[in-house]
């Protein structure tokens, strides 16, 4: 087995990075803090690349790529702190709609593939989710009651403040009229897979966020001087940064392994996704802490870009199961000898 990304996957990452470097600058991320809706222009750029269609099978007009390809893209999404809902739309909802194979799903799926709309997902009894206020299609995934969906009309949702102002949380204003999509065992299976993809996708973004914050800290430590020397020359700073680097280096393979197992529908896929989310959450929050320490007071200020990455990290580390929750799930899956969907 070859434990390396393929040439196509590396090119895919480069292509997405090239686009984001141009169209998702720190100034763009900052501007997203003061907007309730996403950038249609930026979403169109992502659609031109084919991002929303990645996990949609070719018979539904998609690209038929795998979760392993998708995490490569999501790592770049995190690296640039992209405000757009790639995780929700392309990683969670699009493959869920495709897998449901129901007539109801066909129209919204086609619009997602075409890059015309974005999506949001609610699990179980949640009323708040990322991109809920602004999504054109919302899926409610519940293991026992089934998978349902609705198209929010004006006033059906409202914006909700988040620690990360660019992530755009939304809340249901009133219980909507959900249309059934899938029920029974199939619904439980699709919901479990969607949960795994949510955790996995967030983990991939966190690795990218962590790497970006570490790069910022290293660059800063090379130029910021104290006692007549760059602060990066002091052991106390070096050790912080080295620890953050090691944690990220260990988290990335966990994410890639989980993505591969998920794409193979392997029995240990759920455990691998939970483990990936746990280690990536810890690695990214650790990188945020180290970067903040190395930046000193300037890192705390709203004016510095670090806080844009740091607050996305805080939000995503807690989204779709924080590290403690995911570790408990890993333990349960191991102890119960139950590698199936929980």
């Amino acid at each position: 087995m070859r434990f390396a990304l393929s040439d196509e996957q590396r090119l895919l990452a480069k292509s997405v990075a090239d686009v984001l470097r141009k169209h998702a600058t720190p100034a763009d991320v900052r501007a997203a803090w003061s907007s309730d809706v996403g950038s249609a222009e930026r979403w169109a750029q992502l659609a031109d690349l084919g991002v929303p269609a990645m996990l949609v099978p070719e018979q539904h007009g998609g690209l038929g790529l795998s979760e392993l390809d998708m995490v490569v893209v999501l790592e770049q999404v995190g690296r640039f702190a992209l405000p757009e809902p790639v995780l929700e739309t392309a990683m969670i909802v699009a493959p869920l709609l495709a897998a449901s194979s129901t007539p109801e799903a066909a129209a919204p799926l086609a619009r997602i593939v075409a890059g015309e709309i974005t999506a949001a997902v609610l699990f179980d009894d949640a009323r708040v989710a990322a991109n809920l206020h602004g999504a054109s299609v919302v899926v409610l995934a519940r293991a026992t009651e089934g998978v349902q969906w609705f198209e929010p009309a004006a006033g059906a949702t409202k914006a909700r403040r988040s620690v990360d102002g660019a992530r755009r949380l939304g809340e249901l204003c009133a219980p909507p009229t959900w249309a059934p999509m899938v029920t029974g065992d199939r619904a439980a299976e699709l919901t479990a897979r969607a949960r795994d993809r949510a955790a996995l996708g967030a983990a991939a973004e966190l690795v990218g966020l962590g790497r970006a914050m570490l790069d910022m800290a290293v660059d800063y430590a090379k130029v910021r001087e104290q006692f007549g020397k760059p602060i990066g020359s002091f052991q106390a700073v070096k050790h912080h940064l080295a620890s953050a680097h090691v944690a990220l280096e260990l988290a990335r393979p966990a994410v890639l392994y989980a993505a591969q197992r998920t794409s193979e529908r392997a029995a240990d896929a759920s455990r691998a996704c939970s483990l990936a989310k746990a280690v990536a959450s810890d690695a990214a929050t650790g990188a945020a802490r180290a970067s903040l320490q190395c930046h000193g007071a300037i890192g705390y200020s709203f004016e510095h870009d670090l806080h844009l990455w740091m607050k996305r990290t805080w939000a995503l580390a807690r989204a779709h199961g924080d590290a403690a929750t995911q570790r408990a799930r890993v333990a349960a899956l191991i102890l119960d000898h139950n590698e199936g969907r929980s």
Partner: protein, 275 residues
């Protein structure tokens, strides 16, 4: 129009600190280097794509772009990248990176041009590693073709190209009859730099090289990429340039701050002795 674009992979300049020299100083140790296409050659591919399409409908090809590189099997990655960008075919001339110089590359390219019979050879003005700026000029001489270097604009005419070259004090425009060899400079990828006969003069391209969409990356796997041994193109593989020794640039000494202009002038006169 059929265009041949020679391109070279170079060590990623963003990771230039990873470049090492073998202990005996005989060559550059390429182990572990990250490679990327020479930026000027990427610009040449972009210009070639613009010349073989209508800018308003870029997904419809109106000609053929063949990319060629010299190197080992790993250099296929660079070619696949260009195929994903839009090039139609690729040729890899099988050799090793350190067994080449500008003359040998030009001699082999001449043989390839005679096989492929392109209307135009379009290439970067130089590679950003060796900065030799030789291959285009030598190739044009060997072929006996017209040549224009450092192109900043290209306009297709019937059987010719109008080439704008930025020079000190202005722009020189040359009309070059095809077939020809043209090397490009960085402004060739500006929004209004290149026009094929099919593209309206009012059309504006996005600034820079185009991105590879994900479907194109997947489709690139199926585009033709052939391997040709170097000796098949140039039985004489001798080099005209002999490298005697490599060594890293001297470590730059830390600067000093001077309190005023008088001290600065004193140092320039008495220490640096440049005044």
């Amino acid at each position: 129009m059929k265009i041949l674009v020679p391109l070279k992979r170079v060590a990623d300049p963003d990771n230039a600190n990873k470049i090492k020299i073998a202990p005996d100083g005989a060559k550059i140790d390429t182990t572990g280097l990250e490679w990327k296409p020479n930026p000027f050659d990427e610009y040449a591919v972009e210009a070639a794509l613009r010349l073989t399409e209508n800018g308003a409908t870029p997904k419809v090809r109106g000609g053929e772009v063949v990319v060629v590189t010299f190197g080992p099997k790993e250099a296929d990655t660079t070619l696949r990248q260009m195929l994903a960008t839009g090039a139609d075919r690729a040729v890899r001339v099988d050799t090793t990176d350190d067994a080449l110089d500008g003359s040998l590359v030009a001699r082999a390219l001449k043989a390839l041009v005679e096989r492929e019979k392109p209307d135009l050879v379009l290439m970067g003005k130089q590679a950003v590693d060796g900065d030799s700026n030789q291959v285009g000029q030598i190739l044009a001489e060997l072929l006996g073709w017209p040549m224009a270097t450092f192109a900043a604009t290209l306009q297709e005419e019937a059987g010719a190209l109008l080439v704008g070259r930025e020079v000190d004090g202005g722009v020189i425009t040359l009309r070059v009859k095809l077939p020809a060899v043209v090397t490009v400079d960085l402004r060739i990828v500006a929004p209004t730099s290149v026009y094929s006969l099919a593209t309206a003069r009012t059309h504006k391209y996005a600034d820079g090289v185009r991105f590879s969409a994900l479907p194109a990356i997947m489709a690139a796997k199926k585009k033709p990429l052939i391997e040709v041994p170097l000796a098949e193109l140039s039985p004489d593989t001798s080099l005209r340039i002999a490298y005697s020794k490599f060594e890293p640039p001297p470590v730059r000494k830390a600067g000093v701050k001077v309190p005023d202009v008088a001290v600065l002038v004193d140092k320039l006169v008495n220490e640096a002795k440049v005044l």
